[in-house]
């Protein structure tokens, strides 16, 4: 395909022990010989670690938190367009999408392309509605209940066997082995992400994930399945490998078709000891391991950038089974002045 020369803005540059997908998205773009564009990091904090990785970004800018509202975000994106010539935006955090979905025309009028789901698609895969979606489309999913009142947890044993997963509405899950643990988890998740809280039947097994892009008509533009080989205490993948798993890919195709999903997504699936598959979550963005897709020969972030720019990508090449990643945590040595431009001016032309 033709070399991509546009300017891509990427969010989610926090690269802590629970990293955002921004740095892996950028690394995937940079790794491709078909990418000759510029990359601008959009960060919420001047100390987001991805801002300080050498040779990662061509520029960086602070943007307001989603809680500041759509107008504040769009004003900042218009500034990014004027200052850095941003052509394409790849948002990578769940909480960013409500402000962007259904406003693609506004962004396009600014000159910024995105490839995103509609708000209706975004909502139908939410943790609160996943069970209903899957039940209606014959996708295997653990039973769940949506709770707004912690008192309901004292009778949850009548409907679920412990342990259960207590999940926040956007992020986070706690495995609870008793009603008291479940109530504590309810308050912890609610304090962080608000209500409702989702209680999900716990399924033991191997954790599998699929990173993909849906075409908005029920098809998959590309998809790469991965098995986590190492987990952090938070359950985040620290190492993983691409696998060949036909039933997993069939499940992914069914779920994407059910939603007619448009844009990047990640499916989290458990394969139980009997070989059954259970869809735990659908995340509405690339995962933090998405650079593995590039390593496996199917560069999903680059495909997303092209689609957002209005290009056609056709059928992506098959991914390579056995491509693995191992995450590393490193200290980046910088001078304190590296924080200056972003802290004082909210932007800088070149990463340190």
């Amino acid at each position: 395909m033709a070399v991509f020369t546009g300017t891509v803005a990427v969010t989610g540059l926090n690269a802590t022990d629970n990293p955002g997908p921004g740095v892996p998205v950028v690394r995937a773009l940079r790794s491709s010989p078909e990418f000759a564009g510029r990359i601008i990091g959009l960060a919420y904090d001047a100390m987001d670690p991805g801002l300080f990785l050498p040779d990662l970004l061509d520029g960086a800018m602070l943007i307001p938190y989603p809680s500041a509202g759509r107008d504040a975000l769009f004003a900042r994106l218009a500034h990014a367009r004027r200052t850095f010539g941003v052509d394409v935006l790849i948002p990578t955090l769940d909480s960013e999408l409500p402000a962007l979905c259904d406003h693609e025309h506004v962004l396009r009028a600014m000159g910024i392309g995105v490839y995103l789901p509609t708000r209706a698609q975004y909502d139908m895969r939410s943790k609160a509605r996943l069970f209903e979606l899957c039940e209606n489309h014959d996708v295997p999913v653990p039973r769940s209940e949506v709770l707004n009142d912690p008192n309901a947890l004292y009778s949850i044993h009548e409907r679920f066997s412990f342990p259960i997963a207590v999940k926040g509405v956007f992020y986070g899950a706690t495995i609870a082995y008793s009603a008291s643990e479940a109530v504590a988890a309810f308050h912890k998740q609610a304090a962080e992400w608000g209500l409702p809280i989702i209680v999900q039947e716990f399924v033991a097994g191997e954790e599998l994930n699929v990173a993909a892009i849906g075409d908005g008509e029920g098809g998959l533009i590309g998809a790469v399945p991965m098995k986590k080989l190492m987990l952090t205490k938070q359950g985040k993948g620290w190492a993983g490998v691409t696998i060949h798993d036909a039933p997993l890919m069939a499940l992914a195709r069914r779920a994407v078709a059910a939603m007619k999903w448009r844009g990047p997504l990640e499916l989290e699936v458990i394969r139980d000891a009997a070989g059954g598959y259970h869809l735990l979550e659908i995340n509405p963005r690339f995962p933090a391991w998405v650079d593995l897709s590039a390593g496996a020969g199917q560069n999903l972030p680059l495909a997303c950038a092209r689609l957002a720019a209005g290009e056609s990508v056709g059928t992506l090449p098959d991914y390579r089974v056995g491509a693995a990643f191992v995450r590393a945590s490193v200290n980046q040595l910088v001078d304190i002045s590296a924080f200056e431009a972003l802290t004082v001016h909210g932007e800088r032309a070149k990463a340190s």
């Binding site: 191997e206 599998l208 098995k227 993983g240 691409t242 696998i243 060949h244 798993d245 089974v321 056995g322």
Partner: protein
């Protein structure tokens, strides 16, 4: 390939004994006799043929080789690489 050994046929087996299962993402290491047995089962050899060939390559008694081969086949069943009803005969 013989019936029931299709999972073994999917394995990526390195000469070093490092094995990658592309379906589960799991990796294993086996020693040389175990790799030999695994490849023999995958290729459809029966128990007598495996023991005879092992006997030509490794210095061990036929009874030991027979027992070890059956034990290894059981471990392959336990790890899901052979069907639970697979019998090496």
């Amino acid at each position: 390939m013989t019936a029931g050994t299709d999972r073994l046929s999917q394995l990526a087996i390195s000469p070093s004994g490092f094995i990658f299962d592309p379906r589960s993402g799991s990796t294993f290491t086996v020693n040389e006799p175990a790799r030999f047995i695994l490849e023999a089962i995958r290729d459809g050899l029966g128990l007598d043929a495996i023991v005879k060939t092992l006997n030509d390559h490794f210095a061990a008694g036929a009874a030991d080789l027979r027992r070890d081969t059956l034990e290894f086949a059981r471990r392959l069943r336990d790890s899901g690489l052979l069907p639970t009803d697979f019998e090496l005969v």
